[in-house]
Amino acid sequence: MTFHPDMAYGATFHKSARQLEPGMKDGVPFEYTAENRARFDEIVTRYPPDCRRSAVLPALYLAQYQEGYITASAMRYVAALLEMTPADVEDVVSFYTMFYTKPVGKFVLQVCRTLSCALNGAERVTEDLQTKLGIRPGQTDPSGTFTLVEVECLGACDRAPVVMVNDAWHECLKPEDAAKLVDDLRARGEAALSGCYHVVEDKRTG
């Protein structure tokens, strides 16, 4: 559907139209590990008893950390725990960009592409990572190690360009060092990342 005759757009142009993966693996039952269940039980106490739904974002994070992405089973499981409908949970999952509905690589490289990073070479960073990995933004490399994504402003414009790898940060990346970061991640894992203010400042002053 389009609201303008000259403005055709694809089915997924806007996140409100984002569809969950067809044939999404949902036959595999989902349940929190005992540890995650205990964390969930603690989290729910932070909200009023009749407002359990408030815990949906943290509950989905727990599911995502456990499985790597959010399955249909996990959505139904979270829905039952929070007394929501599975459709309500899906509504939330499809809206927020940090939830994955299909498997992602071991390292999700999220390159900030917004203004201050772009002024400092973010487009080059993305290009070099594409060349190095042989994939385009939104794709995962064949080995399942790296997923490349372009994301919007991460809020560290003074350390531009910034790349977020899973939940960890790598700041002040020189565009020409982007490809090296891939090798470093392979060799040393997240230890290869510069981290945030704390770590960076401590490294500089210490």
Binding site: F3, H4, M7, Y9, F13, H14, K15, S16, A17, R46, P48, C51, R53, S54, A55, V56, L57, P58, L60, Y61, L82, D88, D91, V92, F95, Y96, T97, M98, R113, T114, L115, S116, A118, L119, N120, G121, E123, R124, E127, V151, E152, C153, L154, G155, A156, C157, D158, R159, A160, M164, D167, A168, P175, C196, Y197, H198, E201, D202, T205, G206
Partner: protein, 431 residues
């Protein structure tokens, strides 16, 4: 003015409770508890503290609006969803001085009669969230939070709530929706959150930096606070300077400072021997200022007089290599991606704007596209539930206003006429 909020941020242990207590930590809360809640609200009102999130609305007034007659519990919702492009001050504040925010939350709760403050932090700030949660865990056993704070009859809990990637969650009603476990989409206003907020209860939504100012005001008084800056623009202010400058970073100053002092002084000026072309003074949602406006006072009122807004104080300096069509395309890409989709003009319009800008940037534009850009923008601005629509069209309108010749050159030449430069561009061939 010497830094107050960020005085100790470079010290290794600045984020620990022990360090904080050695530097008047929680003295503001201790003092607030000896006052009546209404006196605290009045003090903050008298200080003239204005919301640091972007709108610059007086905080004391916001607190006065909180409905006292409601039978429902009241809430503080701290907006730590810092996502405005060019803004990174709350990031630093929470990471290096988390107890200041926690103290501010506790005082705010006491002032409006709330027992719970939720700090809504953006999902990408997990490393900051860990610092904040560790600080909260330190504060409970020492009696700064929990039941009977510091031996008084006041109970206060502070919880961190993690978002999951949505710029719109920074809009106050969308933040409350997200906190209630829904899509981060704005509500119709009125009613305002002060009357019908979180769970339908009276709620004050305040930015991180705003709440961080509260302990200072309680401790040092309204007059002291107001005297730190020009009239109606009191207190210390955190400025985020980024873009083409030598020393990007967070700089704390009195709002008597000028854009020139911030960009040329604190941030070291434009780098690589280039010249300044334009300034975004308050995050990507505000109109551009030109180099001849560098002597503008960087206060809420000063920047407004110059024709823009201080917004979130995210100052982006752009040098003469920056293509303004590219800049508009980059920012509209952001707004198109972040539009929550609730209002048709914004959801559809940002996509249309992006496609037209992309076309012009590729060198396939036509002159009539420029009128189309203006007309679509006029049909988005003011026609949406929240201010996002107005913000989304600003980069287009402001670049068209000041740099229309660059758009025309793209269309006439079929390409960008500026020398290609790696800092801002894709490879020369693609451009």
């Amino acid at each position: 003015m010497d830094p107050i909020l960020t005085k100790h941020v470079r010290e290794p242990n600045a984020f620990t409770l022990d360090f904080y207590l050695q530097h008047q930590g929680y003295d503001g809360l201790r003092k607030a508890l000896t006052m009546k809640p209404d006196e605290v609200v009045e003090l903050v009102r008298a200080s003239g503290l204005r919301g640091r999130g972007g709108a610059g609305f007086p905080t004391g007034m916001k607190w006065q609006f909180v409905d006292r007659k409601s039978e429902k519990p009241r809430y503080i919702a701290c907006n730590a969803d810092e996502s405005e492009p060019g803004t990174f001050k709350d990031h630093l504040l929470m990471e290096r001085n988390p107890h200041l925010l926690i103290e501010g939350c506790a005082i705010a709760c006491y002032a409006i009669g709330a027992k719970i403050a939720y700090i809504y932090i953006r999902g990408e700030f997990l490393h900051v969230q860990r610092v904040l949660e560790a600080a909260i865990d330190e504060a409970y056993p020492r009696g700064f939070l929990g039941k009977g704070v510091l031996g008084s009859g006041f109970d206060c809990d502070v919880f961190v709530h993690r978002g999951a990637g949505a710029y719109e969650a920074g809009e106050e009603t969308a933040l409350l929706e997200s906190l209630e476990g829904k899509r981060a989409q704005p509500r119709n206003k009125p009613p305002f959150p002060a009357v019908v907020g979180l769970y339908g209860a009276p709620t004050a939504v305040n930015n991180v930096e705003t709440l961080a100012n509260v302990p200072l005001i309680v401790l040092n008084g309204a007059e002291w606070y107001a005297g730190l800056g020009p009239e109606k623009n009191g207190g210390p202010k955190l400025y985020c300077v980024s873009g083409h400058v030598k020393r990007p970073g967070v700089y704390e100053a009195s709002m008597t400072i000028t854009l020139r002092e911030l960009i040329e002084g604190r941030a070291g000026g434009v780098r690589d021997g280039r010249t300044l072309k334009a300034i975004i003074p308050g995050g990507s949602s505000v109109p551009i200022l030109l180099p001849n406006q560098l002597d503008t006072q960087a206060s809420y009122d000063g920047i407004q007089k110059a024709g823009s807004l201080l917004g979130s104080a995210g100052i982006v300096a752009l040098d003469d290599t920056t293509c303004m069509v590219w800049l508009a395309e980059n920012l509209v890409h952001f707004y198109r991606h972040e539009s929550c989709g609730k209002c048709t003009p914004c959801r559809e319009g940002t996509d249309w704007l992006y496609k037209i800008l992309q076309k012009i940037e590729r060198g396939e534009g036509q002159m009539r596209d420029l009128d189309l850009l203006s007309s679509i923008s006029a049909n988005i601005a003011g026609k949406t539930l929240c201010a996002f629509g107005d913000a989304a069209v600003t980069p287009v309108l402001t670049t068209l206003q000041h740099f229309r010749h660059e758009y025309e050159a793209h269309i006439k030449e079929g390409r960008c006429t500026l020398p290609a430069d790696w800092r801002g561009r894709r490879s020369v061939a693609a451009h």
